[in-house]
C-alpha cells in the first residue's frame, strides 16, 4: 500500500493545513482526505504544487509499504 507522509513533511516545514490548502489551491476538506490516505489518487499537478510549496520530492510524501 501507498502511505502518505504529508503530515510529517508539513510538521517539519511548520505549515498549517489552511495555509498549504490555500497555496496549492485545493479545499481544506480535500487536503484532509489526502492526508488521511482516503483519496483514491493524486493528480500530477497537485503533487507538483505540494512539492513546490513544501520544497520536497514526491518520494518524501509517498511511501510504499507491504
Amino acid at each position: 500500500m501507498i502511505k502518505i507522509n504529508l503530515d510529517r513533511v508539513m510538521l517539519e516545514r511548520k505549515i498549517s493545513s489552511k495555509a498549504l490548502a490555500e497555496k496549492i489551491g485545493i479545499t481544506q476538506v480535500n487536503l484532509s482526505i489526502l492526508k488521511t490516505g482516503k483519496a483514491r489518487g493524486i493528480r500530477f499537478a497537485t503533487l507538483e504544487k505540494i512539492c513546490q510549496t513544501l520544497n520536497c520530492q514526491p518520494g518524501d510524501l509517498l511511501e510504499y509499504k507491504e
Partner: protein
C-alpha cells in the same frame, strides 16, 4: 453549455410541465366521470355511455367500467410520474449536474413507470377486447404496435440507466482524485 442547448432544455422543461398539468386535469376528469357513473341511475348511465361512443356498446357492466377507469387512472398516474421525473432530470442537466445519484433515481422512476404503463396498457387492451371496443383512447392506443413501441422505449431507457450508473461511478472516481 451553449445557448441552443439551454433553450432546448428550457423548452422541454416547459413542455413536460404542460404535460403534467394536462395529466392532472385528465386524471381529475376521469375520477369525476367514474364517480358519476357509479352514482347516477341506470337510464342516465346508458345515455352518458352513448356520448362516450364505445362502438355503441352501451351494455357494459358497472364493474367493467370502474375497472377500466382504475386502469386508465393508473396509466395517467404513470404518465404524470414520467413527466415529473423527466422535468427533474432536465432541471439537473440545465444546472450542469450530469452524473449525480439524483438523476439515477429519477431515471429508475421513469423505468418503473414505463414498465407499469406497458403492463397497464396491455391490461386495458385485454379489457376492451373483451367487450369488442377498440381505439377508445388516443393516449393509450390499445394496439400491438404501441406495445412493441413501449418495449423498445423501455430498452432504450434501461440502456441509458446502465450508462448513467457507470458514469456516476466514473464521476465518483474522478471526485476522489485530488
Amino acid at each position: 453549455m451553449n445557448l441552443f442547448t439551454k433553450t432546448v432544455l428550457k423548452f422541454l422543461s416547459v413542455i413536460s410541465l404542460i404535460g403534467q398539468v394536462l395529466c392532472a386535469f385528465a386524471g381529475l376528469m376521469l375520477l369525476f366521470a367514474s364517480v358519476a357513473l357509479l352514482l347516477v341511475p341506470n337510464g342516465v348511465k346508458k345515455q352518458l355511455l352513448q356520448y362516450v361512443d364505445l362502438n355503441s356498446n352501451t351494455n357494459l357492466s358497472i364493474w367493467f367500467l370502474v375497472l377500466s377507469c382504475l386502469v386508465a387512472l393508473a396509466i395517467i398516474a404513470c404518465l404524470f410520474i414520467i413527466l415529473y421525473a423527466l422535468r427533474k432530470i432536465i432541471g439537473n442537466i440545465y444546472e450542469q449536474h450530469f452524473f449525480v445519484s439524483r438523476n439515477l433515481k429519477y431515471l429508475k422512476l421513469i423505468l418503473i413507470s414505463i414498465t407499469s404503463f406497458t403492463v397497464l396498457d396491455f391490461i386495458s387492451q385485454l379489457l376492451f377486447a373483451q367487450v369488442h371496443a377498440y381505439n377508445v383512447s388516443n393516449i393509450f392506443s390499445d394496439s400491438w404496435p404501441s406495445l412493441i413501441g413501449n418495449i423498445l422505449l423501455l430498452s432504450i431507457v434501461y440502456t441509458l440507466y446502465v450508462v448513467l450508473k457507470y458514469g456516476i461511478s466514473l464521476q465518483d472516481d474522478s471526485n476522489n482524485v485530488i
